[in-house]
């Protein structure tokens, strides 16, 4: 099939899915029992196109050397490729300056970098006893635990936005929740469990009114949406490479220059120094100040290739496809008796992750039956236990989509769910 044709959503999506799928070698895999792979776990990690795999292989075969220190041809080439990847990522997210892009190992490290340096700092951004930090109930654990650690260590207070029954943020108390004592507001842009796309700009506006720093977990947003950090309203944005057709082991923290300059270093070591004496050291300018030790070089280059890949398709098209396939899946899943969607059931301000429950069949068992048919989904709490508790459930099954997902993949999911219900004699 070429493209996605649907009755309602968005405009027609002019994206050549067969051509895209041909770039992803793993999509040709035949799973146990002779079932072709139906990969619906992209919110967990996306698959990788040949272009990304080749970029990393070529680096190791032709250019491998450490960066920023070797005075030889390979060192020059490796350093140039690593910094070129930074420029690509910066352009991709609309950063004013590539030095505002800090490479980390993943989004969790990026968020921990922020939460730790806010505790250690001494300037205006430092979090102290009596200060407040605001997050939301729909965060991934990686945007909860670092803030719990920060507030416990500093004597600050952690507060959070609740979730409405439809799976949206409850912003009714925004003016009291974000107040003059608030030092940090950290929110997820697109929920990895509920799929909700949150009004980051609106929250950022209120946060800035009271002088709070705005941190955004964009792990699910950067892969799916056109991103322009300059107009987003955030001060710091964390995301990861492996959910956007890039490799594992590389993520990024974007921050406004002024903010990053005001924060103290996170990890100490090689590369992050200006000079080291036994009596004390001084720090390198951005971005090196936050990149101690040998960085994930091949992974950064792979992320650069991933950004090239997505840019060649066009993020507007990626987003339109995501919306179309999500709309199709919501409609098909909505027709299944006994299936309850956790999160918005309309494809409005909604990303491509759909978590659901099937009455009488535990998510583990659902995913086991699906796996026996070659359909890969996620079962469990998706690192969002508080959001599950909000809906009175312990776990759910989640299907998530990406640029290579077809309506046939969704059909295979629906058929598999029907088999799961029959296997467990439900419905």
């Amino acid at each position: 099939m070429t493209g996605v044709s649907l009755q309602a959503p968005a405009a027609r999506v002019d994206i050549d899915i067969e051509k895209i799928r041909a770039d992803f070698p793993i999509l040709d895999r035949v799973m146990a029992g002779g079932h072709p792979l139906v990969y619906l776990d992209s919110a967990n990690t996306s698959q990788k196109p040949r272009q990304v795999i080749d970029a990393m292989t070529t680096h190791y075969e032709q250019f491998n050397a450490n960066v920023g220190r070797a005075v030889h041809q390979l060192g020059d080439a490796s350093t140039a490729a690593y910094e070129r990847a930074r420029v690509k990522v910066a352009d991709f997210i609309g950063a004013a300056d590539p030095a505002e892009v800090i490479f980390t190992k993943n989004a969790s490290e990026a968020l921990n970098l922020v939460a730790n340096t806010l505790a250690w700092g001494s300037g205006d951004y430092a979090v102290r006893a009596g200060d407040q930090v605001v997050i939301t109930e729909m965060e991934h654990h990686s945007n909860i635990v670092p803030w719990q650690l920060l507030t416990e260590r500093t004597g600050a207070t952690l507060r959070w936005f609740g979730i409405t029954d439809e799976g949206r943020l409850d912003l009714s108390q925004i003016d009291s929740l974000i107040n003059e004592r608030t030092k940090v507001v950290s929110v997820v842009w697109v929920s990895n469990m509920l799929g909700t796309v949150n009004p980051v700009a609106e929250i950022a506006r209120r946060a800035h009114e009271v002088g709070a720093l705005v941190v955004v977990d964009a792990s699910q947003a950067v892969p799916q949406l056109p991103v322009d950090v300059a107009s987003l309203g955030a001060d710091l944005v964390a995301f990861t490479g492996h959910k956007m057709v890039g490799p594992t082991g590389i993520g990024a923290l974007w921050g406004r220059t002024e903010v990053l300059n005001a924060l103290p270093p996170f990890l100490g070591g090689g590369s992050m120094i200006e000079t080291v004496a036994m009596a004390g050291s001084t720090w390198a300018p951005l971005p090196a100040k936050f990149e101690a030790g040998t960085p994930p070089i091949a992974e950064a280059i792979g992320l650069g290739a991933a950004v090239d890949y997505l840019s060649a398709i066009g993020m507007d098209r990626v987003a339109a496809h995501e919306q179309a396939i999500t709309a199709y899946a919501l409609e098909r899943l909505g027709d299944i008796d006994g299936l309850t969607i956790l999160g918005p059931s309309e494809p409005v301000d909604r990303g491509g992750a759909i978590s659901f429950e099937i009455a009488g069949v535990h998510p583990h068992d659902v995913s086991q039956v699906l796996d026996s048919l070659g359909v890969a989904v996620r079962a469990g709490h998706h690192c969002a236990k508080p959001a599950h508790r909000r809906f009175g459930v312990q776990s759910s099954t989640r299907a998530s989509f990406y640029v290579y997902t077809t309506t046939a993949d969704v059909d295979a999911l629906v058929d598999g769910l029907d088999q799961a219900k029959r296997f467990f004699q439900v419905g």
Binding site: H364, D365, H381, Q394
Partner: protein, 148 residues
């Protein structure tokens, strides 16, 4: 992938109708165990009388495998001397961690042999062991308390 080898009829029977479910008095030790990767949870109580497992009561939330294995655990171990129950426990753990290479001993494990197929599904072994690990923990605590 053979679903039938994983979901034996015995497992599905215990899942639909778990034996000895619910929390009861009296008990000497209560534990709460979770499977951190998937969120399955069990609260389990052990009541020992004169070195014998007099009761195992539990409140479990989880998949068919974890629910059924806790049910089989209670069915199998209630009434056994603690030493013997620990031997059954070891045999079950050995079966589960055997990657499908261990021949199950029906004389020892009774309905527990139905879980032999689970050992071939690494992601589900923790499900099958959740209640069993909770029982061992609770029993160890109860024994220590009894010795004062």
């Amino acid at each position: 992938m053979d679903l039938q080898s994983l979901y034996q009829a015995i497992i599905l029977d215990h899942y639909r109708d778990p034996h000895h479910a619910g929390l009861r008095e009296p008990y000497e030790a209560e534990v709460h165990h979770v499977n951190p990767t998937c969120g399955d949870e069990v609260t389990l109580r052990v009541h020992l009388v004169d070195g014998t497992v007099s009761d195992i009561s539990y409140d479990a939330e989880g998949c068919s495998i974890s629910q059924a294995s806790t049910s089989v655990l209670a069915e199998l171990l209630i009434g056994k001397p603690v030493d013997e129950a620990m031997t059954v426990h070891e045999t079950f753990v050995e079966l589960m961690q055997g990657r499908g290479q261990v021949e199950p001993d029906e004389d020892v494990l009774e309905d527990g042999v139905a879980f032999a197929g689970v050992a071939k599904f690494p992601a589900r072994v923790k499900c099958a062991l959740l209640g069993w690990m909770a029982w061992k923990d609770a029993t160890a605590q109860a024994v220590v308390d009894a010795r004062g």
